[in-house]
Amino acid sequence: MNIVVCIKQVPDTTEIKIDPVKNTLIRTGVPSIMNPFDKNALEQALRVKEKNGGTVTVISMGPDQAKTVLREALAMGADKAYLVTDRAFGGSDTYATSYILSQVIKKIGPFDVILGGIQAIDGDTGQTASSIAEHLGLNRVSYVLDMEKKDDKVIIKRKVEEGVVVLEAKLPVLVTSLKESNKPRYRTIKGVIDALKADIPEIRFADLPGIDETKIGLKGSPTRVKATFTPKRNATGEVMEAVNPQETAKSLIGKLVEAKLL
């Protein structure tokens, strides 16, 4: 079973600062990490590989420094890593990024499973991984807790609000992982040493001859950020003292009914 995992390098904070002029993220001075959800996806891929054999490839689109998270993935046990990087890809939104990644996957594939985190902690759009499936015309299952290979299919446990749904999906399939999916492993000492020496090939615009130039970069990105702002809190909360918990609960329910929330 050959798996590709899409990983993103993100700033290590949920307190993102935004450039007020360009409306893009300010990355300087913020330490970068592997997007935690992508780490869960990688762990899922590694577990499937350990059970069924095959390979785990990781790809990331970004500047040269994104190789750090690719090396981390190699140290955790991924077999091969590619950095997707080119000035022509700069400014891509989720549509353009997912299109570029889909072309990369076509080039370096085929793969049985494409994995990614459900979302990235910087943009929180949750669009990129799923959109890759659209560009490639593949089945997609999101919110996946666990997956197991069965013949030419995978049995997938998918988290929904009411509980867990068990699905069967034909390969190839795109899957997105959750934080609850697993606890990602640590890098091994040997893994770190080997990963520091590993060659990480770069995939550039010129390496993707069939790519549609109108779908990449800033120009190929339909997203327009009109404004960014911090929503104002227009209501203050009320603290209720719980002298007698039962009475306080009753009074709370009364207030919620009054506010038509119950």
């Binding site: 492993r185 890098r187 091994t188 000492i189 040997k190 770190v192 040493i193 520091l196």
Partner: protein, 380 residues
Amino acid sequence: MSLIYTNEQKELLALVKEMAETEIKPFVQEADEKGECPPELFKWAFDMGLHMLEIPEEYGGTGLSYETTAMIFEELAKVDAGYAITFVTTFVALRNVILSGTKEQGLHFAEVIKKGNFAGFCLTEPGAGSDPAAMRATAVKDGDDYILNGAKTFITNGAISAIFVGFFKTSPDLGAKGISAFVIDANEPGIVIGNHENKMGLRLSNTTDVTFENVRVPATAMLGPEGSGFKLALNALNLSRAFVATLAVGIMQRALDESVKYAKERKQFGEPIINFQLVQGLLADMAMKIEASRALVNNTMRLMDNGSLVRKEGAITKCFVSDVAQEVTSNAVQVFGGYGYSKEYPVEKLMRDAKVFQIFEGANQIQRLTIASCLKSEYK
């Protein structure tokens, strides 16, 4: 940070620090109270490969230098030195089998450890501590086998080892030259593990008696030639002294980290106590001794990486570092004042943990004799 670290070393230290602080630190206080380390706490370290760091790749290890290995173990010892020594004892035993035994013996021992097992070194006896030549355990030839008998004590990893290096008299009349070393699987019939020692410190480290009652091992289990056991033990101790010193540096660094943090928070006479010069003096003395110790350990590790036996340097390192570890951890308790004496705060444990470093791997009095004996032969 007194050393110059390579990128690789920085990456490895960051990884081990994260692992130790997440996976071990939250459980240390309880384990220290109980006097044992839950086996599941070792899983991460085995998965990561901490048991085979400096073991050559041909034996399935990572092949790191002693220098880098020591840096990693200092980091681990900051969280708990008893936890760390469980691994140090294991790889020192394996390293000595590789150095002194046949290729087959080395590969067998490495195979056992690689699977995620510990090893022990059965040298000390109730009547033979600083004077190992006085040991009474015997190995008597019986056809193609040896029959081992004797009682060993204070054996690190005694109850959790899968394999031992054991020392026995093959010629009881010959003193030191009558000692031979053997590789012994821990599940051989006749091996009796005694109770876990209720120790003052290093309480996450397992320490027991190990008694051999007519344990039969094949003659091929002997390490090196007959009668070479004492020399083998001394070489092993050169290596282990340098490594226990790195653990003592870790203990001291933790003591300083905790002390500076506390001295900045704790207020008396209306200001943080770090502003008082007598407290500053304590902290500065601690820092000086730690820096000197770390540099000393690092140099000894590099000498070993270059193939030196470090008889004198190992003794100097272990003796100096463990002596100052007493002062540094005691000063940490002093900085904390009454709270330092309480088990609610981390520094009293560091003081307890530090004490044994003056005692084991050869008491510091013996280290001084070794250093003097080296000096005597150097100046002819």
